[in-house]
Amino acid sequence: MLSGNKDDKMSSLIYNPAEFLNEEIIFMSLRLIAAAVVAVLGFSAFRVIRDRKYMIFGIGFTLISSAFMFKLISYLFFIKNEVCNGCEGYTWFFVFYYVFVLAYLVGATALALLYIKIDDSYVMAFIGLLLLLTSFVSLTSFAAFSGFLGLIFGFVAMRAFEYYMHAKSRPTIMIFSSFAAVSLSQFIRALGDMLFVSSFILVGELLSLAGFLLLAYVLLRVYNK
């Protein structure tokens, strides 16, 4: 059963079951740190060799990390019981939630674009419009948001798998596993949101955390070798 003691419409679309709220705050904080670590590594590489791909990589993970921060801020309004129709808290909650959605979508897409290598400005503009549209749809359906993110990370995982098949090294299989875990977690979350099965949501959140932590761990290990 999803939390329904506040604004039923919003909470049923956006929030985890109330009994997992504390856990999600912990998971979200850890994911924020892991994504920030990956972003710092990307920017460190860019500082040394000035290659645009590391800048995009750094920006992508900065956006993902900021998205987690914005979602944590939106939780503050929820915890303080300021989310109700007509309340000022509702507006702020909505703003922070929308920034979370947009930052996560743009960050993940930036990452995917690194692997696609598109130079055509029309295609880029089309992707931008598609993202904007998805962000609006995400406001009414969290499952759509999770599903779209699952597809983006799935694409990145697929490219990482292709690279693993080529390189056959331990770090490449670990990178593939981390992206695959994040992708799968989004689909499980989407399913949980659609079927109202709270355990799916918890499993999705755990899997997503595992994916981000694994990614940060592998890159830190490789970078500090």
């Binding site: 040394v48 060799i49 791909k53 590391y54 692997y115 090294s169 670990m174 990178i175 490789v222 500090n224």
Partner: protein, 91 residues
């Protein structure tokens, strides 16, 4: 078929060639070992010298050699880390 090297890869190859030869090489040997054209050599050497990553030293009998500096070693280590990261990510 090997693809064209980018700027970073060429710098890596120059520093790597120097390190593999006890930190110094004659200009012609460096040109050969790092697989550079004459114009590439001129451009990259001036950039690396400007950044104090390598220095031109004079040996006995007016012979010159390019030598990697302490900063050059540090930069090479950083490049190695970035390469490892790039290899892991497949970027």
């Amino acid at each position: 078929m090997s693809s064209r090297r980018n700027r970073t890869e060429i710098i890596y190859d120059i520093l790597d060639s120097l390190i593999k030869n006890q930190g110094s090489l004659k200009p012609t040997r460096l040109l050969y070992k790092a697989n550079l054209s004459h114009s590439q050599m001129k451009d990259y050497i001036s950039e690396l010298t400007e950044k104090n990553l390598i220095v031109l030293t004079e040996q006995k009998g007016n012979k010159t050699k390019y030598e990697i500096t302490e900063e050059g070693y540090k930069f090479f280590n950083q490049l190695n880390k970035i390469r490892e990261m790039s290899d892991a990510l497949g970027l």
